[in-house]
C-alpha cells in the first residue's frame, strides 16, 4: 500500500460551497405558489366542465381520444418503440427512475452484507 500515492480530490467549482447552504435551505421551504396554482387549475377545469354541460357538451362521436390512449395505440401497433417514448418525455430521467423504482429493489437492500459486491 506504500506504493500508492494519496488520491487527489476532484475540486468543486469556485464559490460552490458558498451557495450550497442557500440552495438546500430553499428546497426545504414549502412552496406556497404551487398550492395557489393547483386551486387555479382546479377552478379552470370546473368552469370548463360547467360551460360544456351548460351548452350541451361535445357529441360523443366527436370526442378526441386522450394522449395516453393515442400513445398506447402507437405502441401496440409497434409504430413507436420504448426509445421513442423516452425521447418524447419532458423528463426522461424521471420516467426511467419511476420504471426502475417500480421494477427494482429498494435502496435498503443495497446494504445486504452477504452480497459479493463487498469482495
Amino acid at each position: 500500500m506504500n506504493k500508492l500515492p494519496k488520491i487527489k480530490d476532484l475540486q468543486a467549482p469556485d464559490g460552490y460551497f458558498d451557495r450550497l447552504p442557500d440552495d438546500i435551505l430553499a428546497k426545504t421551504k414549502p412552496n406556497n405558489s404551487v398550492s395557489w396554482t393547483k386551486y387555479a387549475a382546479a377552478a379552470a377545469i370546473l368552469i370548463g366542465l360547467g360551460l360544456t354541460w351548460q351548452f350541451g357538451g361535445i357529441p360523443f362521436e366527436e370526442q378526441p381520444i386522450s394522449l395516453d390512449e393515442e400513445a398506447h395505440l402507437y405502441i401496440e401497433s409497434q409504430i413507436w418503440t420504448a426509445e421513442d417514448i423516452l425521447s418524447f418525455a419532458d423528463d426522461p430521467n424521471a420516467l426511467l427512475d419511476q420504471i426502475i423504482e417500480e421494477e427494482m429493489p429498494t435502496s435498503e437492500e443495497l446494504w445486504a452484507e452477504d452480497e459479493s459486491n463487498w469482495f
Binding site: 468543486a12 438546500i24 420504448a82 435502496s107 463487498w118
Partner: protein, 181 residues
C-alpha cells in the same frame, strides 16, 4: 464559530432557531459530504444533486435522529446510501440501453482540469472505478478518509470483519492495476 454536534442539534430542535441550526449543520459538513459522494460518482453535477438530497433527507429525518451515533456518521450513512443507489440506478439504466455511465465517469477523469497531466492520479482513479461500488466505498472511507473500521461499520451497517476483507481485496486489485504497466 465552530459549534459541537450537540449545540447544532439543540438549535435545530428549537422552532425559533431551526433554520439557523440547519444552516450550521450544512456549513459544518458540506465539504465532507460532497467529497465522499464526489469520489463515488466523479461528476460534479451528480455529486451536487446527491449532496443536496442528503441534506434534505437529513432535514426531514432530524427529529428521528436519536444521537446514538455522531452526526457525521449519520450524514455519511445517508450520503453513501444516496451515492450507491444512484450508481445502482445508472447500472440498471444501462441495461435499458440509454448510456454507459461507467464510460462517462472515466472520460470525465480524462478531461478534468484538476488531474490534468497527472498520469498516476488518472490511473489510480480509473483503477478505483473498476472496483465494485461498495468495495470502492470501503477503499475511500479507509484509505482516503482514514476512518476506523468501527466508524465504517456504523456507516455501512456491515461487520468489521467484512470491511477488513473488502478493503484488503480492494487494495490488492488497485495495486495490481496501477502497477501493471
Amino acid at each position: 464559530m465552530n459549534l459541537t454536534d450537540q449545540q447544532i442539534l439543540e438549535q435545530i430542535r428549537s422552532p425559533f432557531t431551526r433554520e439557523i441550526g440547519f444552516r450550521q449543520l450544512i456549513e459544518t459538513y458540506q465539504r465532507k459530504v460532497y467529497h465522499v459522494i464526489r469520489r463515488m460518482v466523479i461528476i460534479h453535477e451528480d455529486a451536487d444533486d446527491l449532496t443536496q438530497n442528503t441534506f434534505i433527507k437529513a432535514y426531514r429525518y432530524l427529529d428521528k435522529f436519536e444521537g446514538n451515533s455522531s452526526l457525521f456518521t449519520w450524514l455519511y450513512r445517508i450520503a453513501t446510501n444516496e451515492a450507491l443507489s444512484f450508481l445502482e440506478k445508472k447500472k440498471k439504466r444501462f441495461f435499458l440501453s440509454i448510456d454507459d455511465h461507467q464510460e462517462k465517469m472515466e472520460s470525465h477523469l480524462d478531461h478534468h482540469g484538476n488531474l490534468n497531466g497527472d498520469e498516476i492520479q488518472v490511473r489510480l482513479q480509473k483503477a478505483l472505478l473498476k472496483l465494485p461500488e461498495k468495495q470502492r466505498l470501503v477503499f475511500h472511507l479507509k484509505y482516503q478518509e482514514e476512518l476506523t473500521y468501527e466508524q465504517m461499520a456504523e456507516i455501512t451497517g456491515t461487520s468489521v470483519g467484512a470491511l477488513k476483507a473488502s478493503y484488503h481485496h480492494a487494495v490488492k486489485k488497485v495495486e495490481q492495476y496501477v502497477l501493471s504497466e
